[in-house]
Amino acid sequence: MKHFLSGNEAVARGLYEADVRVGSAYPGTPSTEIFENLHPYESIYHEWAPNEKVATEVAYGASIAGVRSVAAMKHVGLNVAADPLFTAAYNGVGRGFVIISADDPSMHSSQNEQDNRHYAKAAKIPMFEPSDSQECLEMMREAFDVSERFDIPVLFRMTTRVSHSRSLVEFGEPLKLEAFPYSRNTKKYIASPANAMVHRVELEEKMKGLAEYSETSPFNVVEKRGGKIGVISAGGAMLIAKEVFPEDTSFLKLGFTNPLPMNLIREFSENVETLYVIEELDPFMETEIKAAGIDCTGKDVVPPMYELNPTLLREALTGEKVATREVDAKAIPRPPVLCPGCPHRGFFYTLSKRKNVIVAGDIGCYTLGGSPPLSSLDSVICMGGGFTIAMGMSKAFEQIGEKKTIFGVLGDSTFFHSGITGAIEILYNNGHVIPVVLDNSITSMTGQQDNPGTGYTLMGEIADVVSMEAIFRAVGYRKIFTVDPQDLDAMNKTVDEAIACEEPCAIIVRRPCVLIKRIKHERALCVVDRDKCKSCRRCLTVGCPAVFFEDGKATIDPNLCIGCTVCMQVCPFDAIYKEEE
């Protein structure tokens, strides 16, 4: 029987079949569902770590102790985890250790589209690139064998379309493995300079062995058809190439792409008249193939950025536009917005009414606080950057003698991820920044994952709740304001007090996300009294998708409204009232 699985679900199954025993991850689109789908497999301990560096270290520790382990993250997460990754490559592994990176070409849900294949090369580790769900499962099993055979961590590189596309999958027989017996091995696991000098040489030897493996890997295969055109491709781009090139095209399908099988590539190239290298994002393979003196066509025609699709590739290869019909109408953009009842709305509305404030934001739902009409953010860079970008700005303004009120804003999960070090930085180096945590008690943008502040683990166990108040206090903040953002007067007053506060202070803006299922939320309905409405449009400035104008008056969609009352509180004419349900 075949199963219709997403790449992420197939990876979860592959982890189970490979008898992985410990997994640690930080949620991030498009990788999140891998760990959410480990739930049925009781043999795998799996957790959300506070960040990707922690996840990678936890998984690596488990490998050292003798069980197979995995860490999973989105592409930018690997930037955070790069530190342990590069040294784990030197030391090698105990039982197999695989790091999954899910890249996001076209930035469907990301701040950049970095091509993480370069990490495999830079860290000198082997890499697999599945193209569909069946390969996600089978390559995961193989990745663990390679990790153990060559004593090295393996990078498992996916992309949004591989993670989120569904195709038919046949299951394999799950393995049942013995743990490797643990004994202290200081030469291997203490990365002192003396040991690292030795590991450095060993790593080059391992890469030579891996280059040989690459030549005969079951996932690097020639599909010989005609002798005219040959295509080398890997990952999701391979399926697109297969769709587009004519039937008599020969393919060299690469599933194992670092190190590349250069002998196989050379032999393949010699048997075709024209060689194409088709890859999404950077010319990762092409650069190396050309450096080996093999002539090929690649990024001179294939776009070097954004997600590839069959039409784009066909147009790139033929130079002809695909025929479409024009419709004489334009769609208005439908940007993502803060949900009706979102607790972030009250905070951003409050800041949107203030002049001369600078707000450094962060990655999460609250990034949407930067969109109109709230338009309350100056920057969003990376996880944890809310506090520290603000710090740098405050020091710059001090240097040039400008007085500004500066807020650093991030969410609860982001605070635990990498906000705490920023909070320390602000206090330690006497920054004039007000750190704000928007605590909605869940990791929301990625689809409701637990974190150290929620009281539950990924496996559903009750956990200690890590208190951000206690952390701020322990760091040395003298005043910690806690406020409900749905009470606009209180929110406004808190911001005033924090600005006036002469001592280091922090604000915790706290109300749970309305999408959290295990909490019973109060539900009500806000209704417009059309006689009282003076059409001033103030209610539209809160940016709620439930509030709009119809026939010149404010109107609230009863199907969307949950009765948070933020629009009601801003109405100067008391034209909005609340109906209890």
């Binding site: 075949k2 219709f4 689109t29 498009p30 469907h108 849900s109 569909d132 949004t160 379309r161 989120h164 596309s165 569904r166 195709s167 038919l168 399926l239 697109i240 297969k242 769709e243 090139f245 004519p246 039937e247 699709n309 069959p310 039409t311 784009l312 066909r314 695909v322 025929a323 479409t324 019909r325 024009e326 419709v327 004489d328 109408a329 334009k330 769609a331 208005i332 953009p333 439908r334 940007p335 993502p336 917005v337 803060l338 949900c339 739902c365 949407l368 109109p372 009409p373 689809g447 999408l515 449009r537 539209l540 940016g543 998708p545 509030v547 709009f548 104008f549």
Partner: protein, 197 residues
């Protein structure tokens, strides 16, 4: 290559039930013995953004996604999403569109107005089957079955009636909602027949 592969695109706004439709659709196709691939973008779906799902089926499907000018049929759960997604259609593509509007924020905030000529303009370029599935669902007794009404209409418009849809509904719809979804499916088929006549 893959000339026998057909492509269906579902487009709507987060929360409109495109996921259930794609599940029923792919179940029926897999049960009929097709190779099936499906791709969806859902990162921001919960935040009221546009969502779209591509379903491809045939003897052997390679790419799970298509680009411009490649889909056989577009099922749009909302008027504006139909307009937004039409570039994906082949020149002789078919559109099943729900005569239904969800205001995007620029319209709600008064920065833009929602045009009222979308269906008219779509019909000038494509074969369009348009009806108000939202209203039909309310009349049937459950506003949420709008999605299955649209599925029924698609099955009729795209001549897919030979697949075992009832079995797919039984597998994917919770038992207590099965009856109304069966009715919704049949209603969608008859509405499409009427529109097509």
């Amino acid at each position: 290559m893959n000339n026998d592969v057909r492509t269906i695109v579902l487009a709507g706004v987060g929360g409109q039930g495109t996921i259930l439709v794609s599940r029923v659709l792919t179940t029926a196709l897999i049960d009929a013995g097709y190779d099936v691939k499906m791709s969806e973008i859902h990162g921001m779906a919960q935040r009221g953004g546009s969502v779209s799902t591509t379903v491809r089926y045939g003897k052997k499907v390679e790419s799970p996604l298509v680009g411009k000018g490649a889909a056989d049929i577009l099922v749009a759960f909302e008027q504006m999403e139909a307009v937004r997604t039409t570039p994906v259609l082949k020149k002789d593509g078919i559109i099943v569109v729900n005569d239904y509007k969800i205001m995007p924020l620029p319209v709600a905030s008064g920065a833009a107005t929602y045009p009222d000529n979308y269906i008219e303009e779509l019909s000038k370029a494509f074969h369009v089957i348009a009806f108000n599935a939202g209203q039909a669902a309310i009349e049937l007794g459950n506003a949420r079955v709008m999605n299955i009404i649209l599925l029924g209409a698609m099955v009729e418009a795209f001549d897919m009636g030979n697949l075992d849809w009832d079995s797919a509904l039984v597998k994917q719809v919770p038992t207590k909602f099965l009856d109304i979804n069966r009715k919704a499916f049949e209603l969608g088929r008859s509405m499409a027949r009427k529109e097509n006549a």
